[in-house]
Amino acid sequence: MFKKILIANRGEIAIRVIRACRDMGIRSVSVFSEADRNSLHVLLSDEAYPIGPAPSNESYLNIDKILSVAKRAGADAIHPGYGFLSENPNFVRRVEEEGLTFIGPKPESMEVMGDKISAKEQMKKSGVPIVPGSDGAIEDVEQLKKVASEVGFPLLIKASSGGGGKGMRYVAEESQLESNYNMARSEAKKFFASDDVYIERFVQSPKHIEIQIFGDSHGNTIHLFDRECSMQRRHQKVLEECPSPALDEESRKKMGEVAVKAARSINYLGAGTIEFIFDSITKEFFFMEMNTRLQVEHPVTEMCTGVDLVQEQIRVAAGLPLSVKQEEVQLNGHAIEARICAEDPVTFAPSPGLIRRCRNPQGSFIRLDSSAFPGYEVPIYYDPMVAKLIVWGRNRDEAIQRMERALAEFSLTGIKTNIVLHKSLIHEEAFRSGEYTTQFIDNEFSGSSDNLFKFVDDRVFLISLAVEAYKNLKPKSTADHNIYSRWKDVGRLEGQR
């Protein structure tokens, strides 16, 4: 087993990996940019080293610096977390060249699954259902029209190397086809340096359901059931569940088997996720993409299976077999995760800045993975997610009730957060019924401030505000009698108007 692991990441996921290391008696080494000297991963790791200026490409994406710290600290393995270098095959090769172990899949797996077209081809070969669409990139307008008429409208045009909705176009009918094709290509070129685009069927009531898979170097490949991640805003996941409320046992079984088949076909090593688009109406599911890393939402799977996915990653990277066999993985109860972000819950604008108070929820059947603490300044340079709140119940209703309780206990002030958004979302009928699709927040949710802020008596806000404003003004008034008197006079005149 490894003696010391360097974590090439920051924030809550770095802390998550530090904890797994502690659980296994492995020393953890964290790295930090100049914006992160005061971040919690620095404080909680056994060792910590600076790696440069705040912008990611000068620190958390700087392969040379990270490798030089790894050697200096004597680490024997590197955990990439998610994001940053976690899906960069070049980084993996560099790590291996230095004689260290990369905790994650082989670079070849990243390459084949990193390109959407090659991934789809690979999946098709392995018998995994894919969304009807073009076989690979569209060559020209002629092919575009031909394939589009086979696939049918509405359809989507997507960038082959894309992600996060960039370079993606919705085409409702044939007349819009060519103009959108050209726009998609130019966006793709701009964002991803390649203007390859492809088209596929647009699923009308789509749900995002994904399967956690895991492979080891002893020929074992298993799945750890499904997660539902349809609660998204502009393709950013907001709230996740395990298991999906939409799958029946038969679909669940089939989806798990298909995912294992997909992972086996590329001899996948470590933790990975096969994302499917699920058609709520037809109950069909199609391969969307594979994430060759740990997911943000992995804790919901941990809560329901008892398997520590990060420990498992480390075991597998060290050449050990998986600690569980497929038939031992049991789905126990229901878990929900809320991503707590430093952002305005109405406008979704980021809200970096100083956290004034932070009272975390506690108690039965909840888990918090947070990088927030009182006095911490959320930097502007990185992702706005500051914490993940995960709850468990024997069934979905219990889990929802616990989420409501934990959110009510959660007090994070100084910055704006989306805590109140989550409170509102879990009260929505579409969420309660489990029938929400990936379109819910963007198209159906009335996230107005009236809707969000209905939970507390307005008078509590007004009285507290007035007393505190009074206290803020009072010392000034008493210290400088002249100003105070003058103000009183003005106040009196005012009162008489």
Binding site: A342, E343, A349, P350, S351, P352, G353, R356, R357, R359, P374, I380, Y381, Y382, D383, P384, L407, A408, E409, F410, S411, T413, G414, K416, I419, V420, K423, S449, D450, L452, F453, F455, V456, D457, D458, R459, V460, F461, L462, I463, S464, L465, A466, V467, E468, A469, Y470, N472, L473, K474, S477, I483, W487, V490, G491, E494, G495
Partner: protein, 174 residues
């Protein structure tokens, strides 16, 4: 001490009187009758940097952040941004109006971030909602648009500049 505040579109007149053992707070919503609340200081206490407020039997942990005329009040996972005024405050505000944030003739940064794109030039006449610049904060690009038809006077930032909350980025002609 007398204040005016606005919450969810409703204007309130608020009066606060302190006695040795209590706070007497009168709330009067626009067009409604005043409502007097006598809050014992035992029921409204500072605690762990917050306020423990026992109100009509209910227990609230409240945070009040802010100063001047702009406050945010948090409790039970919810919050309100509440503008509040009185004559003293308005006086203070007018004294520093010259350098106030995002006044009518300038565009100030609402959050810290980095300028990634500038779409206008000095002297250019803008339509309402015409994009002025794009600022990046926390991996998101935020497009800042013209509040009304207006002419750009000076552009005070360049691409790749980091700006703090309140930094003036663009001024407009009067």
């Amino acid at each position: 001490m007398f204040f005016e505040a606005e919450l969810r579109g409703v204007k309130y007149r608020i009066n606060v009187n302190e006695t040795p053992s209590s706070w007497k707070v009168t709330l009067q919503a626009d067009g409604e009758r005043p409502e007097l609340h006598v809050i014992s200081k035992e029921d409204y206490k500072e605690l762990d940097g917050a306020i423990s407020f026992l109100f009509e039997g209910d227990s609230y942990m409240v945070d009040v952040v802010g100063n001047g005329i702009s406050y945010t009040v948090y409790t039970r996972g919810s919050y309100r941004d509440i503008p509040i005024y009185n004559d003293e405050m308005l006086l203070h505000e007018s004294l520093k109006a010259g350098d106030s944030l995002g006044g009518p003739n300038q565009l100030a940064a609402g959050m810290p971030g980095k300028i990634v794109k500038i779409m206008v030039e000095e002297g250019q006449r803008l339509k309402q909602d015409q994009p002025i610049l794009i600022m990046e904060a926390m991996k998101m690009e935020n497009e800042i648009r013209a509040p009304r038809e207006i002419v750009v006077d000076q552009i005070k930032v360049a691409i790749d500049d980091n700006v703090e909350t309140g930094s003036v980025m663009v001024t407009f002609k009067h």
